[in-house]
Symmetry: C2
Subunit: 96 residues, 2 copies
Amino acid sequence: MAAQKLSETELQQALNSLPGWQIKEGKLYKEYKFKDFSTALGWMVTVGVHAEKMGHHPEWFNVYNTVRVNLVTHDIGNAISNLDVELAKKMEENYK
Amino acid sequence: MAAQKLSETELQQALNSLPGWQIKEGKLYKEYKFKDFSTALGWMVTVGVHAEKMGHHPEWFNVYNTVRVNLVTHDIGNAISNLDVELAKKMEENYK
């Protein structure tokens, strides 16, 4: 799927459907908290497989039970695209 | 295993046996490069299982084929310990 930069309106609509997500330094950002390290790592694997399938990958930081995610699309000049929103939705779906 | 802060000498000896590792902002730091995202993620899983077994976890950032690792021991006042060196060695062993 080709990446398309979102308009301000599309971005606002997307944020309304993504609890806890915000725009931070031009990227789609969320801090996830898990029960423990293994749970965090397991979630990263599940989400990572989806990311690989999409050909669209996150920037993410993990320490113990915390994962901080930044999503942005390099191919369209570091803007937020439909692919970032799609990946964020996959992250939400797999977060319990 | 209990964490023990390393002396300057012990730290230097450890660094000599850990190619590409350095001290950065008081932490043991290395940037790993992999063939692709899947290889990077697979390595994180392997290393993560070791970390969990040790009860000692990395701070790490991933984007695509890059993983940046910071190791420090919170329990002993954010100093570098034998556990950090042990985890760094596991990372090296599993890096091809």
